[in-house]
C-alpha cells in the first residue's frame, strides 16, 4: 500500500498543468464568457494531444493505458484552470465515438436520471453549439444524437458564462452504441471525473482566498490575520484536502480490484467534492468581500462552475441518500 502519487503520476499532473498555463491562461478562458460556443478547436486539439481524452485507452487505440486514478489527476488540473467544454463527456466517449480521443470530435452528454427522469424540469443540455455529437446516457445504455436534430432553446444568460446551456422538452431517439454495463461505468467514472474537476475548483478557490487574505489590508492588518477570515480559509483547506484524497481513492478503487467498492467510492467522492467546490466557492466570495461579488473578479466563475458540476451525473444529495440507505450493518 502506497497511496502517495508515484513519480510518473506527479509528472503527468505537472505536464498537464504546464500545458494549461500556456493553452488556457485565465484571460483566454474569460475571453469566451457569454459566447454560445466556448470550445476553441485548436486548443481542444492540443489538449487531446496531451492525452486528456485518450489516457485510459489501450495503446493500440492510441491511448496510454492509464487508469481512472491518473485521469483524476488530469481532471483536477483541468478544473483548477477553469477549462470550459464537455471534457468529461469527450473523455468517456473516447474509444466509442470516432475522433473523441484525438480531439477532432467534441462530444456532449445528457445523463438521464436512473428510472428515466421526467417531472417538471425540462432536459437541460450543455455546450450544444460546441459539440459534434450528443451522447445520451440512460438505464438502457448510450446512444448518439445529432445536435441539429435536438429541438432546443438557448438560454439567454446561462448561470456559468462559460457553460452555455439549452433546454429541450424531449430528445430525439438516438443511435444505440453501448449497453447498460457501459452506461453504468460512464455514470460511475463520470461522477469521479466531475468530482476531480470540483477538487480543482476547490483548490483554486482556496489559493485565491489565501492569497487575497494575505494581501488585502483592512484595519491596518492583512485580513488573513483575523481569525474570522483565517478560519474560513482553514475550513476551505480541510474540505479541499478530504475531497482530493477521496477522489483519488475513488480512482484507485475503480482501477484495483479488491481494494473496495468502486460505486461507493465514486459516490463518496462526488459528495465530498461537490461540498468542497460549492463551499469553497462561496467562502472565496466571502473572503473577497465586495471584490468577490464583482463580475471582474474571477471568483464568481469558480462558484458558478461548481454549481454546474454539482448537477452533473449525480447530485451530492442523491449520492448521499444512496450511501445512507446502503450502509452495511455493523
Amino acid at each position: 500500500m502506497d497511496f502517495e502519487l508515484t513519480a510518473s503520476q506527479v509528472d503527468l499532473a505537472d505536464a498537464i498543468a504546464r500545458v494549461l498555463v500556456s493553452e488556457y491562461p485565465l484571460e483566454a478562458v474569460r475571453s469566451l464568457e457569454g459566447a454560445p460556443a466556448v470550445v476553441d478547436r485548436a486548443r481542444w486539439s492540443n489538449l487531446a494531444a496531451t492525452g486528456v481524452f485518450s489516457l485510459r485507452l489501450a495503446e493500440d487505440a492510441g491511448g496510454a493505458e492509464l487508469g481512472l486514478a491518473e485521469a483524476t489527476l488530469v481532471f483536477e488540473e483541468l478544473g483548477r484552470a477553469l477549462v470550459p467544454g464537455p471534457l468529461v463527456a469527450t473523455h468517456l466517449a473516447a474509444g466509442l465515438v470516432d475522433g473523441a480521443a484525438e480531439g477532432s470530435t467534441v462530444v456532449g452528454l445528457v445523463v438521464v436520471p436512473p428510472g428515466g427522469g421526467g417531472g417538471v424540469v425540462p432536459v437541460v443540455l450543455e455546450h450544444l453549439a460546441d459539440v459534434d455529437v450528443v451522447a445520451v446516457l440512460d438505464d438502457g445504455g448510450v446512444s448518439l444524437v445529432t445536435p441539429a436534430d435536438v429541438d432546443a432553446t438557448a438560454a439567454a444568460r446561462p448561470l456559468d458564462p462559460l457553460t452555455p446551456v439549452w433546454t429541450a422538452r424531449a430528445l430525439p431517439r438516438g443511435e444505440p452504441v453501448a449497453g447498460p454495463e457501459v452506461a453504468a461505468r460512464w455514470r460511475r467514472d463520470g461522477a469521479v471525473l466531475t468530482a476531480a474537476l470540483q477538487v480543482g475548483l476547490a483548490r483554486t478557490a482556496t489559493e485565491l482566498a489565501a492569497c487575497y487574505a494575505t494581501e488585502r489590508k483592512q484595519f491596518g492588518r492583512a485580513i488573513g490575520s483575523f481569525q474570522a477570515v483565517k478560519h474560513l480559509c482553514a475550513d476551505m483547506e480541510v474540505r479541499r484536502t478530504l475531497a482530493q484524497v477521496a477522489v483519488q481513492a475513488a480512482g484507485v478503487t475503480a482501477d484495483q480490484p479488491g481494494v473496495g467498492d468502486p460505486d461507493v467510492a465514486a459516490a463518496e467522492a462526488k459528495v465530498l467534492a461537490d461540498d468542497a467546490a460549492v463551499g469553497n466557492g462561496r467562502a472565496c466570495v466571502q473572503v473577497h468581500g465586495g471584490t468577490g461579488f464583482t463580475w471582474e473578479s474571477p471568483v464568481h466563475l469558480l462558484l458558478k462552475r461548481a454549481r454546474v458540476h454539482a448537477n452533473q451525473f449525480v447530485t451530492a444529495a442523491e449520492a448521499a441518500a444512496w450511501l445512507g440507505a446502503t450502509l452495511p450493518p455493523p
Binding site: G118, G119, V120, V121, P122, V123, V124, E126, A155, A156, R157, P158, L159, D160, T163, V165, T167, R169, K217, Q218, F219, G220, R221, I223, F226, A228, V229, R282, V285, Q286, G289, G290, T291, G292, F293, T294, W295, E296, S297, V299, H300, L303, K304, R307, V308, N311, T315, A317
Partner: protein
C-alpha cells in the same frame, strides 16, 4: 406585549391599502432592470405619486415635509407596499432613507430647503459615495482627498458600489480632509453635484450580471464649501447620526420578500415532488420559523423605537440572522431547481404548467451571497454583537504601526 393593531394603525393601513389599490394600476409596466434612465423616470414618477398622496418621507418629521409617521405606521407602510407589490423605488432610496435624514439632522436651514423638497417630490435623485476600493469593511480608512482651495474643496479619489450613479443628481460623499491615517477624525460629508466636471462614472458589473452599481472616479472635482454638511472633519459623526433615524424597519420589505420567495420555493418543491422529502420539508419549515422569528424581532425593535425614540439593539442581530437565513434560502432554491438552476431565466415546465421561476430564485441566490458582505460583513456584525451586546473585550491594539488603529472591531 400586544400584536393587535390600534384603531389608528388600522385606519392608516386601510387608507394606505385602498390608495395603493387605486394608484398602482395607473403605473406603466416597469422598465427593464438594465435601463437606468427609464428606471429613474419610473421611480421618480412613483415618488411623486407618494408625495401627492401624502406618503412621501413617511418617516421624516412633518416640519421637514415628511409624514412624521410613528414607527408602527412606518412598519405598516412597508408591509403594505410589499404586500401590494409596489415599486421599491431604487432611484429614490439613497435620498429618502439616507441623505435626506442626514440633511434633516445636520444640514443648515438653507441646505434643507435646497435639497429636501426635491427628494420628496422625486425631482432629484441621490447616490452614495462612501465605499472605496481599499476601504470596504474598514470605512474609516477611506482615502478620497478633499483639499480646500478658496470656497471650494478639490476632491480626488475613487468610490465603489455607488448605486444608480448614472442617473443621480447629487451624491452624498465622504472625503478625507484630515491627515492620511486620521481615521474617523479626518472625514467630511459633502454634497457632490453629479454634473460637476471631473466625475467619471464607470459601470461596476456584479457577479449576477447586473449593472446596478458604478465606480466613481473623481479627478480634481470642485465642490463648494457651502455643500459641506456638518463641520470639517466631523463627517463620521454626521454619518452615524443618520443611523439614529433607524426604527427597525430597514429590512421589512426585504424580509417580506423572503417570505414570499419561501412560498415560491415550497410551491416549486410541490411541483417537483421534493416536498415528499422529509428533509426538504424540514429545511423549508426551518426557514419559515426563522423568517417569522425575524418578523417578531422586527416588531420588537419597532415597538422599542416607538417607546424610546431610539433604534433598539435588535438591528445587528437581525442583519446577521437575516443574511444567513436568506443565504440558506438561496442555496435551497438552487438545490431544488436542480439542472434548471443552470439557467438564470424562467423556463417552460416539462409538465406544461406555469414556467419554472428560475429568474427570481437564482437572483435570490445571488442576493443571499451579497447579504453576508454588503453593509458590514457577517464577520464584522459578529464583532458588533459580541462587543456591544455581550460586552466581550475588543481585540487588543496591535503593537506595530503605533497609529492607534484597532483590530477588526466594530467601530
Amino acid at each position: 406585549m400586544d400584536l393587535t393593531e390600534t384603531e389608528d394603525e388600522h385606519r392608516f393601513r386601510t387608507e394606505l391599502r385602498s390608495w395603493l389599490a387605486e394608484a398602482l394600476p395607473t403605473l406603466p409596466p416597469p422598465p427593464a432592470a438594465t435601463d437606468w434612465p427609464a428606471r429613474r423616470a419610473y421611480d421618480t414618477r412613483w415618488q411623486r405619486m407618494l408625495f401627492d398622496a401624502g406618503y412621501a418621507g413617511v418617516d421624516w418629521p412633518a416640519d421637514s415635509g415628511g409624514r412624521g409617521a410613528s414607527p408602527v405606521e412606518q412598519l405598516v407602510f412597508k408591509e403594505e407596499l410589499e404586500r401590494a407589490g409596489a415599486p421599491f423605488g431604487w432611484a429614490n432610496f439613497v435620498g429618502t432613507l439616507h441623505a435626506g435624514p442626514t440633511l434633516i439632522a445636520e444640514g443648515t436651514l438653507e441646505q434643507r430647503r435646497r435639497y429636501l423638497p426635491a427628494i420628496l417630490r422625486g425631482e432629484e435623485v441621490w447616490c452614495q459615495g462612501f465605499s472605496e476600493p481599499d476601504a470596504g469593511s474598514d470605512l474609516a480608512s477611506l482615502r478620497t482627498r478633499a483639499v480646500r482651495e478658496g470656497d471650494d474643496y478639490v476632491v480626488t479619489g475613487s468610490k465603489v458600489w455607488t448605486s444608480h450613479a448614472e442617473v443621480a443628481d447629487q451624491c452624498e460623499l465622504l472625503v478625507r480632509t484630515g491627515e492620511p491615517g486620521s481615521r474617523h477624525r479626518g472625514i467630511t460629508w459633502l454634497v457632490l453635484p453629479m454634473d460637476a466636471p471631473g466625475i467619471e462614472v464607470r459601470p461596476l458589473r456584479t457577479m449576477a450580471g447586473s449593472n446596478e452599481f458604478a465606480q466613481l472616479h473623481l479627478d480634481d472635482v470642485r465642490v463648494p464649501v457651502a455643500n459641506r454638511v456638518g463641520a470639517e472633519n466631523d463627517g463620521w459623526r454626521v454619518t452615524m447620526v443618520t443611523l439614529g433615524f433607524e426604527r427597525g424597519t430597514a429590512f421589512v420589505g426585504d424580509l417580506l420578500e423572503a417570505v414570499r420567495l419561501l412560498g415560491r420555493v415550497a410551491e416549486l418543491a410541490r411541483r417537483t415532488g421534493a416536498l415528499d422529502d422529509l428533509g426538504v420539508r424540514r429545511q423549508l419549515g426551518h426557514l419559515r420559523a426563522e423568517l417569522d422569528g425575524l418578523r417578531a424581532l422586527t416588531r420588537r425593535t419597532v415597538s422599542q423605537a416607538a417607546r424610546t425614540g431610539l433604534p433598539g439593539p435588535g438591528g445587528t442581530v437581525f442583519k446577521l440572522a437575516y443574511s444567513e437565513t436568506r443565504q440558506r434560502l438561496g442555496e435551497l432554491s438552487l438545490e431544488l431547481l436542480g439542472r434548471a438552476g443552470l439557467l438564470t431565466t424562467d423556463v417552460e415546465a416539462a409538465d406544461g404548467g406555469r414556467p419554472l421561476p428560475v429568474a427570481d430564485l437564482v437572483d435570490d441566490w445571488f442576493r443571499g451571497l451579497s447579504l453576508t458582505i454588503a453593509a458590514g460583513t457577517s464577520q464584522v456584525q459578529r464583532n458588533i454583537v459580541g462587543e456591544r451586546l455581550l460586552g466581550l473585550p475588543k481585540e487588543p491594539p496591535v503593537a506595530t504601526g503605533g497609529d492607534g488603529r484597532r483590530g477588526w472591531t466594530s467601530s
